[in-house]
C-alpha cells in the first residue's frame, strides 16, 4: 500500500513569536496533517498556530557547501556596529 507522505510541522508557541520547526509526521493530505500535528505536537497547549509543509517541498542548502556558501559574510565585519570607533563622550549612537 502507498505510504502517506511526510510533512514538516512548525508551531507558534505564543502570539508575537515565529513558527518553529518541531518535527515531522505522515498524513495523507494537508487537512489530516494539521489534525495529526495538533494531536502529536500540541497535547499540552504548546501552540496557538500550526504550519504543515510537505517535506518534499523544502529546499535546503547543502552542509558540504556550507563553508563556501556562508563564507561571503565572514569578512564583512563592518556590518556589525562594534566595528566602529565612537569618540569618548558621544551618546545615543
Amino acid at each position: 500500500m502507498r505510504d502517506w507522505p511526510l510533512w514538516e510541522v512548525f508551531v507558534r508557541s505564543r502570539r508575537g513569536l515565529s513558527h518553529v520547526h518541531v518535527g515531522s509526521l505522515h498524513a495523507p493530505d494537508a487537512e489530516m496533517a494539521l489534525r495529526n500535528a495538533r494531536d502529536l505536537y500540541t497535547r499540552r497547549q504548546e501552540g496557538v498556530s500550526l504550519w504543515v509543509v510537505p517535506a518534499a517541498e523544502i529546499v535546503a542548502s547543502s552542509p558540504d557547501e556550507a563553508d563556501a556558501f556562508f563564507d561571503p559574510a565572514a569578512d564583512k565585519i563592518y556590518r556589525h556596529p562594534t566595528f566602529y570607533d565612537v569618540p569618548e563622550g558621544v551618546e545615543h549612537l
Binding site: M1, R2, D3, W4, L6, V22, G23, S24, L25, H26, P28, D29, M32, D39, L40, R43, R44, A60, S62, P63, D64
Partner: protein, 333 residues
C-alpha cells in the same frame, strides 16, 4: 538485539553491526570532538547510521508496544480521574513512538519498513513490556518504576550527538515526569488504603522491581557495544552507572510509599555514597529477549492485528486524498 528505552544492548548470541572506525569522515570526527551535533545531511559513517537506526527504531517500537500493558487497564481504571490520566499517558506513549519514528526516518529509512521489521521479529522492543499487568497496582508500578527507569536512561540522550534523536528525547523527557508521578500516586494511594490494597501494591512492586533494573542492560563488562556508543556520543553513561542512579533515586521513594523493594541486600553504603543492591539475574533478561517472556507472543499478535485492522483506514484516507486532489486539479483546469 533490544534497544531498551534508549539503551542498546544485545543478547549474548546475537551480534550488533560491528563498526569500522578507521573510515570515519574527517568532518564527522571534527563535529564529535567539538561536542557538536550531527545533523541528517552531514556525511555520516555507515556504522554510526546503522547503530542509530537500530537504536531509535527499537526505542520507537518500545514506546508503542508499551501502550499495551497499560492499555489493558483503561476500561477498568478505578475512577474517571484515573481513567482520564491513564488515557493521556498511553496517548503520550503513542506520541513518543511517533517522534522517534520521525527521528529514525531522518536517517533514510521508512517507518513502514521499521514496522515490518518489528512485526516480523527482526527488530525488538524493550523486554519490560513482555511482563503482564495482573492488577491495577501494576499500572502504578509501571509508571513509578518503568517510566522512572526510562527517564534515567533517556535524560542523557537529550545530549546525544545525533540532533533529531536528541530533540525527540527532549520532548519525551518533558512528558515523562507526569508518567512517573501518576504511577507513584497510584501506589501511594493503595499503600495507604486497606490492607488488601497495600498488599496489592507490594505485590506489584515485588514483580516489577527486578525487571526494571534489567532495563539498563547487562553489566558493563558484558556490554560490548557500549564503548563504541560512548565514543560516538550516543551513550553518555554506562549501564551500571545508570542502574545505580536509578536505585539511589528509588530507594527513598519506596520508603515514602511505605513499600519494600524485594532485595534484602539493599543498604546505604557510606563509603561509596550509594545504595548497595543485590545481583541482577540476567539469564532471565536474555530469556525474555529471546522471546520466552510471559507475554512476548501476545504483544506481537496484538500489535500485528491492530496494524492489519487499521489497513482499511489508511487506504480510505489515501483514496480521499486522491479524490480531493483530483477535484482541486479539475477546478484549476
Amino acid at each position: 538485539m533490544v534497544g531498551v528505552y534508549g539503551n542498546d544492548f544485545t543478547a549474548p548470541d546475537e551480534t550488533a553491526p560491528r563498526p569500522a572506525t578507521g573510515d570515519e569522515p574527517e568532518t564527522f570526527r571534527a563535529l564529535l570532538e567539538g561536542e557538536g551535533r550531527v545533523e541528517p545531511r552531514d556525511d555520516l559513517p555507515d556504522a554510526y547510521r546503522r547503530t542509530l537506526v537500530r537504536q531509535i527504531a527499537q526505542h520507537a517500537h518500545s514506546e508503542i508496544i508499551g501502550m499495551q500493558p497499560e492499555g489493558n487497564w483503561i476500561s477498568r481504571a478505578p475512577s474517571l480521574r484515573r481513567k482520564a490520566i491513564l488515557m493521556a499517558k498511553v496517548q503520550d506513549e503513542a506520541g513518543h513512538g511517533l517522534y522517534l519514528y520521525a527521528a529514525a526516518e531522518t536517517l533514510g529509512v521508512d517507518r513502514a519498513d521499521l514496522l515490518d521489521q518489528l512485526h516480523s521479529g527482526r527488530q525488538k522492543y524493550s523486554s519490560i513490556f513482555n511482563y503482564p499487568t495482573l492488577t491495577w497496582a501494576d499500572v502504578g508500578a509501571i509508571g513509578w518504576l518503568v517510566d522512572g527507569a526510562a527517564i534515567v536512561n533517556q535524560v542523557p540522550l537529550c545530549r546525544c550527538s545525533y540532533g533529531p534523536y536528541a530533540r525527540a528525547m527532549i520532548r519525551v523527557c518533558k512528558e515523562e515526569s507526569f508518567h512517573q508521578r501518576q504511577g507513584f500516586e497510584i501506589l501511594h494511594t493503595l499503600s495507604h488504603g486497606t490492607p488488601a490494597q497495600k498488599a496489592m501494591a507490594q505485590d506489584a512492586v515485588d514483580r516489577y522491581w527486578w525487571p526494571s533494573l534489567m532495563m539498563f542492560g547487562p553489566p558493563d563488562d558484558d556490554s560490548p557495544n557500549s564503548a563504541q556508543s560512548m565514543a560516538w556520543g550516543i551513550k553518555r553513561f554506562s549501564n551500571d552507572d545508570l542502574r545505580q542512579r536509578f536505585v539511589d533515586m528509588t530507594v527513598p521513594q519506596a520508603e515514602a510509599l511505605g513499600l519494600t523493594l524485594p532485595d534484602p541486600e539493599i543498604r546505604w553504603n557510606d563509603e561509596r555514597g550509594h545504595y548497595d543492591f543485590g545481583e541482577v539475574d540476567f539469564t532471565e533478561l536474555f530469556e525474555v529477549i529471546k522471546g520466552n517472556g510471559p507475554c512476548n507472543a501476545e504483544r506481537m499478535a496484538h500489535r500485528v492485528r491492530a496494524h492489519e485492522d487499521g489497513a482499511w483506514v489508511r487506504e480510505a484516507a489515501n483514496a480521499y486524498a486522491d479524490k480531493q486532489a483530483a477535484r482541486a486539479g479539475a477546478d484549476v483546469a
